[in-house]
């Protein structure tokens, strides 16, 4: 296609070049060709309208957006899928988390969307009310690979997949937070894994005093919400009409969290050191952090040399266990041109074997119960010193809850994060910063 554009340009240049020859002769005959030359020039901008349209070839081609990056569980299953479905070709576009969200927003406003998207479940609230995604039940009819949905997924997962009466996503991997800690250092210093906030502070201090790294403190909603939930607080009220994180439970939780660095127990990780905390893991500044199961894959990828040093545990609490519940969903945009083929791909991605692949390739936690119960997933993991890591996350899942389903979630997330940044980086007063953020959010919610 580009060569066509160039040849057009060349044609133009040649036409102009030819008229040169006439110079020095009579003015009248040469003047004439000058005008028509503009016509091809103008069409040059409009003509390719039809050109790039791909001719309809026999096999349907579906496009899949994949945000997993290098350790993708999607790319390894493409060949097997195409072998099983000779009439469908799969084109995977490998993206990263940020640009997937960006492209998703843009493509929704007018582009040709892909047919399958790996979607962070926290993005669903923004798009669901707009009718951006197809109701998967029209293809699934309540079943996934012949298994009723209620049996395929846990109740929590099922709830997260639904919006009103529709099933908008098939949960592909799940995300709940647990505590990652340096087991080797804990053993060396004779420390016990903290189970309460007080213990977390104490252990963090001891680690810090020994110069062995601290607990990673980050301003984002995922990490801060963990503490609010554990303290019995919430982000929004039950009917999602007002912010509640500035109530006593929330203020207390955020104060505790923000105090960790001041007590020498926490290390404030800021983005100028890297968007990911991996450099801090490598150089030993961070010995504890909280994150989801997908981080197991990142650890293995980014710091393979630390094999045997890390373990996971249930995150320490103050009053009750609690975590956000998210993960990756597979969705079909409402404007997809091949939703049927896309659904076949989703079903294929959610077979037991391929769900185990999510664990083995991406290091993330599969969502399908059958896969979660399989031996392959529950085998002792040598990277984690032979620990059966998934058990920990499964336990956390029992009490985890999805972020509120509101169209304004994006704004809420941004506003809350900004308040956390004021507190952690700008030394703002906790109560005041949270109150301001809550006022902004209330205003946003009331104007929806």
């Amino acid at each position: 296609m580009p060569s066509k554009r160039i040849s057009l340009l060349w044609a133009l240049l040649i036409i102009f070049g030819l008229t040169l020859a006439a110079c020095g002769g009579a003015a009248t005959p040469t003047a004439a060709p000058a005008q028509p030359t503009a016509t091809p020039a103008t069409t040059s901008a409009a003509q390719p309208t039809e050109a790039p349209a791909q001719p309809k070839v026999e096999p349907t081609t579906i496009t899949v957006w994949d945000y997993y990056g290098e350790s993708s569980p999607i790319t390894p299953i493409v060949d097997a899928f195409e072998a099983a479905h000779p009439d469908i070709k799969v084109q995977v576009e490998s993206l990263d988390w940020d640009s997937t969200l960006e492209k998703l927003n843009v493509v929704m406003t007018g582009g040709t969307p892909p047919d399958v998207i790996t979607l962070d479940m926290t993005w669903l609230p923004t798009f669901a009310p707009l009718g951006a995604f197809a109701d998967l039940n029209q293809f699934a009819h309540g079943q996934l690979n012949g298994v009723p949905l209620e049996k395929a997924f846990s109740p929590g997962a099922l709830k997260a997949m639904q919006y009103n009466d529709q099933v908008l996503a098939m949960l592909y991997d799940f995300d709940v937070y647990a505590l990652y800690y340096r087991a080797d250092i804990f053993e060396e210093l004779g420390l016990d894994v903290p189970t309460t906030w007080d213990e977390l502070t104490a252990v963090g201090k001891k680690l810090g005093d020994a110069g062995k790294g601290q607990y990673a403190v980050m301003p984002d909603t995922f990490h801060a919400a963990q503490f609010i939930y554990e303290n019995g607080g919430s982000i929004l009220n039950a009917d999602n009409t007002a912010a509640t994180f500035n109530q006593p439970a929330g203020v207390e939780a955020v104060s505790y969290y923000a105090n960790l660095p001041k007590e020498g127990a926490g290390y404030v990780w800021s983005f100028e050191e890297g968007w990911e905390i991996t450099p801090g893991l490598k150089d030993g500044r961070i010995a504890m952090f909280s994150d989801g199961p997908y981080y197991m894959g990142i650890l293995k990828d980014a710091v393979p040399e630390m094999s045997g040093q890390w373990k996971v545990a249930v995150h320490p609490i103050s009053k009750q266990p609690g975590s956000y519940l998210g993960g990756t969903g597979l969705v079909i945009p409402a404007k997809s041109e091949h939703p049927e083929a896309a659904w076949q791909f989703i079903e294929f991605a959610l077979t037991k074997e391929n769900q185990i692949g999510v664990f083995e390739n991406a290091g993330a936690a599969p969502a399908l119960l059958e896969a979660l119960q399989s031996d392959a997933v529950n085998a002792p993991d040598p990277y984690f010193g032979g620990q059966r890591t998934l058990e920990v996350f499964l336990k956390a899942m029992d009490t985890a809850q999805p972020f509120p389903y509101v169209r304004a979630w994006n704004q809420i997330d941004e506003t809350f994060t900004a308040a956390m940044e004021e507190i952690l980086f700008g030394d703002a007063d906790v109560k005041e910063a949270l109150d301001n953020a809550a006022a902004t959010i209330d205003d946003v919610l009331s104007s929806q």
Binding site: A31, A34, Q35, T37, A38, A41, T42, S44, A45, A46, L101, E102, N105, V106, M108, T109, G110, T126, F127, L130, G131, A132, P219, S270, F271, E272, E273, N410, Q411, E414, T415, T417, A418, A419, E421, E422, F425, G426, A428, T440, D443, S447
Partner: protein
């Protein structure tokens, strides 16, 4: 008769040729500028998410921006601060450097290259390089440490972040100003200085009464280009801070972009037009200022 008709025909033909020569830019302008611009203007009076049909809301978006939206006010304020800081530091440094280079120095080509090299690099590259330099353990903090000072969180301290972006931007841009000032300085006729010297003017007076007036058009050019560019600052913010921490580096265009990315197209369009309005006012003021003082 012939004498009367032929100029008209020639003129008509010239019209045709004129239109033909500007046809592509005009067509491109209509498709890629005018239509999008009008579309955005239309959207700015609606609530629109790109998926469902837009709902007309009158001037609600504009009203909300100025009465309810603290982040917008912050973005506005940050953009002004970025522009003022950058426009104070950049051209001043550029003029000083150009004045030095204009002293018939040797190795002028080397110096000029050194100042100009960053201009050639993309903002993504610049932002990446400075992200490393601004790192908590980066070069700058090592230098501070060597002086016995506390390290600064250049990008994650809300008090520093915007300033850090200004520094990186000035580093990237002032070579452009240097080169242009230098060319303008070299274009000032030596006779003007000789005349001033005969009148007994000292160095400062010569600068004030000869150099500066001669540079006026170039200064106008640099400030128009510079302010328009500064008001549209985006890439550096995008790569270095994403508008954070605590919105301390959020700028108008970044905010507009983030609203687009939240599928609030009507609201984002209103921000776009506020920005457009500000740029128009600025350009008009500058034009008035520089034409009147002539």
């Amino acid at each position: 008769m012939i004498h009367h008709r032929s100029p008209l025909r020639r003129r008509l033909r010239q019209y045709g040729i004129g239109y033909a020569f500007v046809a592509v830019p005009v067509l491109a302008g209509v498709i890629f500028l005018l239509i999008p611009m009008i579309t955005t203007l239309g959207w700015s009076f609606t609530r629109f998410n790109g998926l469902q049909p837009p709902q007309f809301v009158g001037i609600d978006n504009y009203a909300r921006l100025f009465t309810h939206d603290r982040i917008f006010i912050k973005a506005l304020w940050n953009t002004f601060r970025f522009t003022i800081l950058g426009m104070l530091i950049g051209p001043t440094l550029g003029l000083l450097t150009a004045l030095m280079l204009n002293q018939k120095v040797r190795f002028q080509a080397f110096y000029r290259t050194a100042y100009f090299l960053p201009v050639m690099t993309s903002l993504v590259v610049v932002a990446t390089i400075w992200r490393m330099i601004y790192n908590k353990h980066g070069l700058l903090n090592l230098a501070l440490g060597a002086l016995g000072l506390e390290p600064i969180r250049w990008l994650s301290d809300p008090h520093w972040a915007l300033f850090s972006i200004v520094i990186a931007s000035v580093w990237q841009g002032f070579g452009f100003e240097t080169v242009i000032f230098l060319a303008a300085l070299q274009g000032i006729p030596a006779t003007l200085y000789e005349a001033a010297a005969l009148d007994g003017a000292n160095v400062w007076q010569r600068f004030w009464h000869v150099t500066l007036p001669a540079l006026r058009p170039v200064i106008l050019f640099i400030y128009i280009i510079g302010i328009i560019g500064s008001f549209q600052v985006f890439d550096q913010v995008f790569v270095m801070t994403s508008g954070g921490p605590a919105n301390s580096t959020i700028t108008l265009v970044y905010y507009l972009y983030s609203k687009f990315m939240d599928l609030r197209l009507g609201y984002a369009s209103a921000i776009a037009y506020v920005l457009f309005g500000i740029l128009m006012v600025f350009s008009y003021l500058q034009w008035r200022f520089f034409t009147e003082t002539d």
